[in-house]
Symmetry: C2
Subunit: 367 residues, 2 copies
């Protein structure tokens, strides 16, 4: 028998409200709502603001066990995958994506999640939530399967911007380290700068400049700078956070995914080769299942937008219920930790390093 008081104040404190864009994913709002159902079952203190066409959403939500924790907010329009970001900024006021972001802007929700058009989501997020002071380029951070104990490394920028200069890369290091502390539970994340070799003289000018900035700023940023790393280090246990520009990061991310798909295809072919290998597949069933789970991209679904006044999670466009549930759990976990405030506190110490090392103050932020 539960006799603890259920006061309104403690209920308020423990509730985490997440704003969800129900539209715009390749599989439509049904997959989003199915993912919500999975998520809400495991997080009794979560509340949802669900943005999209109310006629469609009412029908989908009606049968859910946790329907009382979902508030539908009607939005007439949907951002399409083919819409250009500039156009969405001009004409997207009535879309579910805009509406979902405004719930965070107005403080009604602690984080926003969408599986719609990435470019449009980044442009709208920047416009509606604004950059944290000192941030010129926000970044998308992704989790990457790795040999580290947590099973993951963090890579940023995975494609928010095509370019990054040295101060941007320094900000990415601060933001990525914060994400590693809050998302992976690491006390002192190891940060590496992606380059074509590990020697100090290698790479483009902005990378050598960033190398000096990161070396000087690592104590204030609460991270251990391990220097230049190469593409081969991304899934390894020698580094936790890999910093790069969005063009390179996007190509690396997709190359890694493509290689994993190639290997998976070859494995399937291998186990189908003959009767012995088919028998082997049956014997190794348990181990194979674990292997598939480790490599399952749905487990790490979702890029987190960093550098904005609010937490925004981008789920894959092709998200199914399982992967959308994983992404919304990520948004929930970050919201619960006041992640945005922690990143902002760290970034406040970053600017002093690009302005000139003499003015650098010891860090006071503790994210």
């Amino acid at each position: 028998m539960n006799i603890e008081p259920q006061g309104s104040i403690s209920a308020q404190v423990s509730q985490i409200v997440i704003s969800v864009d129900a539209m715009g994913g390749d599989k439509g709002p049904a997959a989003v709502v199915a993912g919500l159902d999975l998520f809400l079952a495991s997080r009794p203190d979560a509340q949802i603001l669900l943005h999209g066409n109310q006629d469609v959403l009412n029908g989908l939500v009606a049968g859910l066990a946790a329907k009382d924790r979902i508030t539908i907010i009607h939005a007439q329009d949907v951002v399409q995958m083919t819409d250009k970001p500039a156009q969405v900024i001009r004409t997207g006021k009535n879309t579910s994506m805009w509406s979902a972001l405004d719930s965070v802007r107005e403080g009604a929700a602690a984080a926003c999640i969408s599986c719609g058009n990435t470019g449009a989501l980044m442009a709208l997020s920047t416009m509606r939530l604004r950059r944290i002071e000192g941030v010129k380029r926000p970044a998308i951070a992704c989790m990457w399967p790795s040999l580290n104990p947590s099973g993951f490394n963090i890579l940023l920028d995975a494609g928010a911007d095509l370019k990054a200069d040295a101060p941007d890369l320094l900000n990415y290091a601060f933001m990525g380290a914060s994400y590693a502390r809050n998302g992976l539970g690491l006390t002192m994340p190891r940060v590496g700068l992606l380059n074509v070799g590990t020697e100090e003289h290698k790479g483009r000018a902005e990378l050598r400049e960033a190398h000096d900035l990161l070396t000087a700023a690592q104590e204030a940023g609460g991270f251990d700078y391990v220097g230049f790393v190469e593409g081969g280090d991304i899934p390894m246990s020698t580094v936790d956070v890999i910093v790069t520009d969005g063009f390179t990061g996007n190509v690396a991310l997709k190359t890694g995914e493509g290689t994993a798909r190639l290997v998976a295809k070859m494995l399937r072919d291998m186990f189908g080769t003959n009767i012995l290998s088919k028998l082997a597949a049956i014997l190794a069933y348990g181990a194979l299942k674990k292997f598939r789970h480790q490599m399952d991209p749905r487990r790490v679904n979702g890029g987190v937008f960093l550098g904005l006044n609010g937490t925004v999670v981008k789920s894959h466009g092709s998200s199914d219920a399982t992967s959308f549930a994983a992404a919304i759990s990520q948004a929930y976990d970050l919201a619960k930790m006041n992640f945005t405030d922690r990143v902002a506190a760290r970034l406040a110490t970053s600017a002093s390093f690009t302005a000139g090392l003499d003015s650098a103050e010891p860090a006071t932020a503790t994210d």
Copy 2:
């Protein structure tokens, strides 16, 4: 009974001379000579000019069955892995690498191969062999395991230069298509330009400019331009040649290798999980062996330098006998096809596209 005349002219015509830098690899000249032994056993018309310390090489070569087809050329010095390219250009005159390249420069050998310092090899190759007219930036082309019937795609530039502008990328397309015709036997290779999305408005300015150049030049270049491709397409069957700048290409290459290593590690762990999975590994032995062969980086060992007056193959620094034999076979095959002349003939038609489309002439080269 063979009664065909064995005249000296036909013998001369069919002999292929390859210049080999025996020094500078991580495993030393013994691995190189062991690789040569494997290679010479399968290519009775091959002759070798072997450059390095004669005292060391005489001892290694003495026991080989094909020792009569190896001529040792003494070189006192060795380019070290840590030497900077600019320094090697100034002071490397007595190195085995310099000597090996000069055999191609003087016409004594049809191709050169080294497993030494990549940056130094590219710098010395450019200095001693010179760029083909119209080429500003030579490129390194790599074979990449893929789902295509040949089992491979070609990626360039894999790291010769950090940058590439639109005319460079056009040249890479011409050179990569030539390599695909001669190295993979494809009549009409499909060429894609690596970008962060497939839509025409995506990516940096030089990529959109290159997109227009490749669209106009594909007929003259003897390739089918498939437009922008993403990192995930690199190991797929939708494209044969992937064109990118050397920074991005190098990161992609190493990310792919790292991902494959991660998966291999997870697979080993999987088959060692319990007694059933160990038994499964025994049952699937044949299929697993085939799978390992497909993913074995030693099979595709060697980047080919394109855009120079001579064929140069870079073998991995850590090459063992098997992988060095694979790389020298590649050098041999390209030499036998007069690959350099074919690339030069194609490139002669490339310049007209960057000068202005009006002056473009139909292609006459047939590589």
